[in-house]
């Protein structure tokens, strides 16, 4: 396996984010991150495997047991917190895009802004979206047409 100590400038990432914490990868495959302007290795990432993925899925499933019942307002708060947290790192996020895939700085800056703005846009869309609709089921309409009770018509 390649080592991370051969060059001090090489950044290594060996963890995944599961259940609210950064945890060491179970998968052991290492991938080089290459800077596209000069072909130099600038980072090494340890890749996850099926086991890491299963752990993440299990964490999501158990979060959903309670989060699945959360209100619009609670979710709106979460989206606002995500917006705030990401906003604090705009410059870091932009420079990572320039460094890691050679994104041109002007466009990368716009992409980061629009990504961060997406949290607030999602909050807005959530607030505007009616989650329930109801209408008069016109019982007289059915009673005129049904010769049998409705409970037996629907099988």
């Amino acid at each position: 396996m390649k080592t991370a100590t051969s060059n001090a400038e090489i950044k290594t990432l060996t963890s995944h984010y599961i259940d609210g914490s950064f945890v060491e990868s179970h998968g052991r495959e290492v991938m080089d991150i290459v800077k596209p302007t000069n072909g130099q290795v600038i980072g090494r990432v340890t890749l996850g495997d099926e086991e890491d993925t299963k752990r993440a899925i299990a964490a999501a499933k158990s979060a959903f047991a309670t989060f699945g019942r959360s209100t619009k307002e609670e979710r709106a708060k979460i989206l606002r917190r995500l917006h705030e947290a990401a906003s604090a790192r705009v410059d870091d996020l932009t420079s990572a895009m320039v460094e890691e895939y050679g994104g041109i700085v002007q466009f990368a800056g716009l992409l980061v802004q629009s990504g961060i703005g997406a949290f607030l846009a999602a909050e807005q869309a959530l607030q505007d979206l009616p989650l329930t609709r109801s209408w008069d089921s016109r019982p007289e309409y059915w009673s005129r047409r049904c010769t049998r009770p409705i409970s037996r018509r629907v099988s």
């Binding site: 995944h16 984010y17 599961i18 259940d19 609210g20 950064f22 998968g27 495959e29 290459v34 800077k35 596209p36 302007t37 000069n38 072909g39 990432v45 340890t46 890749l47 996850g48 495997d49 099926e50 890491d52 993925t53 299963k54 993440a56 899925i57 299990a58 964490a59 999501a60 499933k61 979060a63 989060f67 979460i78 917190r81 995500l82 705030e84 947290a85 990401a86 604090a88 790192r89 996020l93 990572a96 320039v98 895939y101 050679g102 994104g103 041109i104 700085v105 002007q106 466009f107 990368a108 629009s114 703005g117 997406a118 846009a121 999602a122 807005q124 869309a125 979206l129 989650l131 089921s137």
Partner: protein, 291 residues
């Protein structure tokens, strides 16, 4: 990014990020019965396999597998504005964008003017260090992507398209790294490989048309339908053309975005929509309670 989002102090397990290969981590997500929904942006091939393999556990999917977006230049367009706008759409993110406008449909009656306008505008799209704010086109993401662009440029030449700007190889002064030459082909036929396949690099195909109807027909003669643009002075006419293009988004006169507007494709450009209420609805299921 995950470090940043960690600070939002979300309920545990709400956000999980596993970095890995699509055929390892992605395949497990698609296979796992505890996952109800997959939302994917990437290639057509992987999109198809997600849909096929997800069927086993009745997954719902949103897929965004790219595009080959047309820019229709109407014959009343002001070229000094329209051509730079068309080039911005062609070269956005160095051409590595699913929405990149990589087919420019130009009226035959103004073809020479269009070619001159492109040549005049190209100096505004310099290749350079991506960290320099003056740079418009940076390197490709990888050696593989560099090689792919070269092979498409070669194929364009072999199939008889005419090089107006650019071509094979590195731009002068950028021999290291994955820099390519921003390239414009003219006299392209819509059935050529460079007009049909998503190149994912700064390669524009200019195709001529005689009538508006023909432009619409060429625009729609693609397996993709993600994004499109209509450039012209008469807005009512531009809108009329826009409504006949089979694409998830059509912009009129300039590249623009709206975070509440849906994003997604027709045909091989995908299934489902992202953003705004459409994006939320893509994650909802409907339950009716009757009494």
């Amino acid at each position: 990014m995950v470090e940043a989002l960690h600070e939002a102090d979300l309920p545990k397990g709400l956000l999980n990020v596993v970095t890995g290969r699509g055929n390892v981590v992605g395949a497990e997500l698609v296979r796992n019965p505890a996952v109800a929904k997959i939302s994917f942006t990437g290639s057509v091939g992987v999109g198809k396999s997600i849909m096929r393999d997800g069927a086993e556990t009745m997954k719902r999917v949103t897929l965004e597998p790219g595009g080959k977006s047309p820019t229709i230049l109407l014959d009343d367009a002001v070229l000094d504005q329209a051509i730079p706008s068309a080039l911005v759409m062609a070269f956005m993110n160095s051409g590595q964008a699913c929405a990149a406008g990589t087919r420019l449909l130009a009226p035959k009656s103004r073809f020479d003017q269009v070619k001159r306008a492109i040549l005049n505008a190209m100096p505004s799209f310099p290749v350079g260090d991506p960290a320099d704010p003056k740079t418009a086109v940076g390197p490709m993401v990888s050696q593989k992507q560099y090689d792919q662009i070269q092979s498409y440029i070669r194929k364009g030449i072999e199939q008889g398209a005419e090089l107006l700007v650019g071509g094979e190889g590195h731009p002068e002064g950028f021999e290291t790294g994955y820099f390519v030459k921003p390239t414009v082909f003219v006299n392209v036929k819509n059935d050529m490989t460079i007009a049909q396949e998503e190149i994912f690099g700064p390669v524009l195909s200019v195709i001529s048309y005689d009538f508006e109807e023909e432009a619409i027909q060429i625009a729609n003669d693609s397996k993709y339908g993600l994004h499109a643009a209509v450039l012209g002075t008469d807005l009512a006419r531009a809108r009329r053309v826009a409504t006949q293009i089979r694409a998830g988004r059509v912009v009129i006169n300039n590249m623009t975005d709206d975070p509440q507007a849906p994003w997604g494709g027709f045909k091989y450009s995908g299934i489902g929509r992202e953003y705004g209420r459409y994006g939320i609805e893509a994650f909802l299921k409907t339950r009716a309670i009757l009494e």
